[in-house]
């Protein structure tokens, strides 16, 4: 009769954490950047259908990196949580904090009780009536929650990208500035660092970008399709005029 090997709980947790971290670091990064008018989410993602960034509710959005089937499952659960809560109570009773707690418990339970942890990292963000009331929660594979201020980068090359954001981010950016910073940060990954030629340029066709726009009413989440990105990223003197046309051109579909 064979006895199972003894493995210490520390070792089990460490192995699971290493496994999850490796999975997460393989994918492309997502950055979340707060600006004066709301919060912008950006990712390098050539797919027009498989989103990493998504609407949850009126003021709440979701961004994720890692295994698609796992974070898509969490996204669907989040939309159901928000819609059920909003329907049984009121639309104003759906908050990012409540959702972040539910995700934290879910991820924490999966991490400790199941043999394979979720290889995902999430951001749940909510815009308030003013920038001081904005909330950005970052959730990791083991269910830990961090309340972030201003910006978050997660996924592959997160360290390099975070360093770039920390160096350049300041409160009160315009949408154009925040978007330019987000795209530059996404291009400042480990590969670009190794090449030593500064940030890669990323084609707008390869970007998935969405904003939670404080100035809208009710549902604040809007995707910014490539044509709008081109005009927003274009270095023009008349940036305000550009942003107006961009808003008008943004389609309504989520």
């Amino acid at each position: 009769m064979s006895m199972p090997f003894y493995v210490s709980p520390e070792q089990v947790m460490k192995d699971k954490a290493d496994y999850a971290r490796k999975g997460i670091a393989r994918g492309r990064a997502v950055v979340v950047v707060a600006f004066a008018g709301g919060i912008v989410f950006a990712s390098e993602n050539s797919s027009r259908a498989l989103h990493k960034i998504s609407e949850i509710y009126d003021r709440v959005a979701f961004a994720a990196v890692g295994k698609y089937n796992e974070f898509e499952n969490l996204r669907v659960a989040g939309v159901r949580y928000a819609d059920l809560r909003g329907y049984s109570y009121d639309r104003s009773d759906v908050t990012a904090r409540g959702l972040a707690n539910a995700y934290a418990q879910t991820l924490g339970t999966i991490f400790t009780t199941e043999s394979k942890p979720y290889e995902v990292e999430l951001v749940v963000a909510e815009v308030g009536p003013d920038p001081a009331a904005d909330q950005i929660y970052r959730l990791t594979y083991d269910g830990s929650v961090a309340d972030e201020h201003g910006f978050v980068a997660m996924g592959g090359s997160a360290e390099q990208i975070t360093a770039k954001l920390a160096e350049r981010w300041s409160a009160g950016l315009s949408l154009e500035e925040a978007l330019a910073l987000a795209v530059e940060a996404l291009g400042s990954d480990a590969a670009a660092e190794a090449a030593g030629r500064g940030p890669r340029t990323i084609d707008p066709e390869q970007l998935e970008v969405a904003v939670l726009d404080r100035t809208r009413t009710r549902r604040l989440f809007r995707r910014l399709p490539p044509p709008v990105l081109v005009s927003l990223l274009a270095p023009t003197a008349d940036a305000t005029a550009d942003s107006t046309t961009a808003e008008a051109a943004a389609p309504d579909a989520g």
Binding site: I56, V76, V79, R80, L84, Y87, Q105, T106, A253, G254
Partner: protein, 301 residues
């Protein structure tokens, strides 16, 4: 509490939240928390009495308020829907400023006639249903899909309808695939019928329909359709006591909405007030609202 149903003691999201497949909010809630859905509460047998009865308090001997006339008109850019502001309970006015036309999503709207409480709940569920689908699928539901979802909800209310608490909405919107405005009407059994040009529901609909038949012109502009909608509601209010006309003293105007390819838009009170003023000016000494041109023609003859 519905949120606690079937929840894991660890506090993680219940298993039902993670089941893949369904994009329907109603289907999800029916499995997970059926008590929050309309139609899942058992009711005693019997009809709601016409006057008085087991209900207590409120005007009209405690009868539940009824919402009345809604008109919908296809115009060049899409569709116009308008509703009066009166809710009645028996012979009493239950509310002067109820709103009966709502956005269903960005490209459609729904107007309600019948038992106000049930209809408002149905609209709220319908709105969540469409938004839920849009978020989960990442695409807008087709116009046909929306019309069918509403049909299913009305059918779910059939038992109550037979007890005297009917809900009869009218659904209209801009069909992005067909590139035109469309109107769908319903009966209490959930039967859905596509309407050409225009439609009206509610107690004053007979009179409104007469006005619509005379005033509707194919391919009319949205502004002209708004005027026709206000005229039709005026005619309904003129002959139906349950339909409220524009309240000039209190400044309560009909709810008028326009849905085009650009989306749902409610016509502002100031704009509706201007249209109402024009209608009033035309009808002074001319209560039937004959257009001025033909009046001049008749006097010249």
């Amino acid at each position: 509490m519905s949120q606690q149903r079937g929840s894991d003691p660890s506090g993680r999201l219940p298993a039902a939240f993670h089941v893949p497949g369904s994009s329907s909010f109603t289907d999800f809630v029916r499995d997970h928390a059926p008590e929050v859905l309309p139609g899942s509460r058992p009711l005693p047998a019997g009809a709601v009495p016409a006057h008085g009865g087991p209900f207590t308090g409120g005007p009209g001997g405690g009868q539940p308020p009824h919402a009345t006339t809604i008109v919908a008109i296809v115009c060049e850019a899409g569709v116009v829907m308008a509703g009066d502001r009166r809710a009645t309970a028996g012979n009493m006015i239950a509310q002067r400023d109820i709103e009966k036309v709502f956005p269903a999503d960005d490209h459609s709207c729904v107007g309600i006639a019948g038992t106000a409480g049930l209809a408002l709940e149905m609209v709220r569920l319908f709105q969540v249903e469409l938004e839920h689908f849009e978020k989960l699928e990442g695409a807008l539901m087709s116009f046909e899909g929306k019309a069918n979802r509403l049909s299913t909800m009305i059918r779910g209310n059939l038992g109550l309808a037979l007890q005297g608490l009917a809900v009869v909405p009218v659904f209209a919107g801009y069909d992005l695939e067909a590139g035109r405005g469309r109107i769908v009407s319903y009966d209490v059994t959930g039967g859905r019928y596509e309407e050409v040009d225009h439609h009206s529901v509610g107690s004053g609909s007979v009179f409104a329909r007469g006005a619509l038949k005379k005033l509707f012109r194919p391919g009319m502009s949205a502004a002209a359709a708004v005027r026709v909608a206000v005229e039709a509601l005026w005619d309904a209010a003129d002959d139906d006591s349950a339909t409220g006309g524009p309240d000039l003293l209190r400044g309560i105007w009909p709810v008028v909405t326009v849905v085009t390819a650009q989306g749902y838009q409610r016509v502002t009170d100031a704009e509706v007030a201007a249209v109402v003023d024009a209608v009033v000016a035309n009808r002074r000494g001319n209560p039937g609202g004959r257009p001025q041109e033909s009046t001049e023609g008749a006097s010249g003859a």
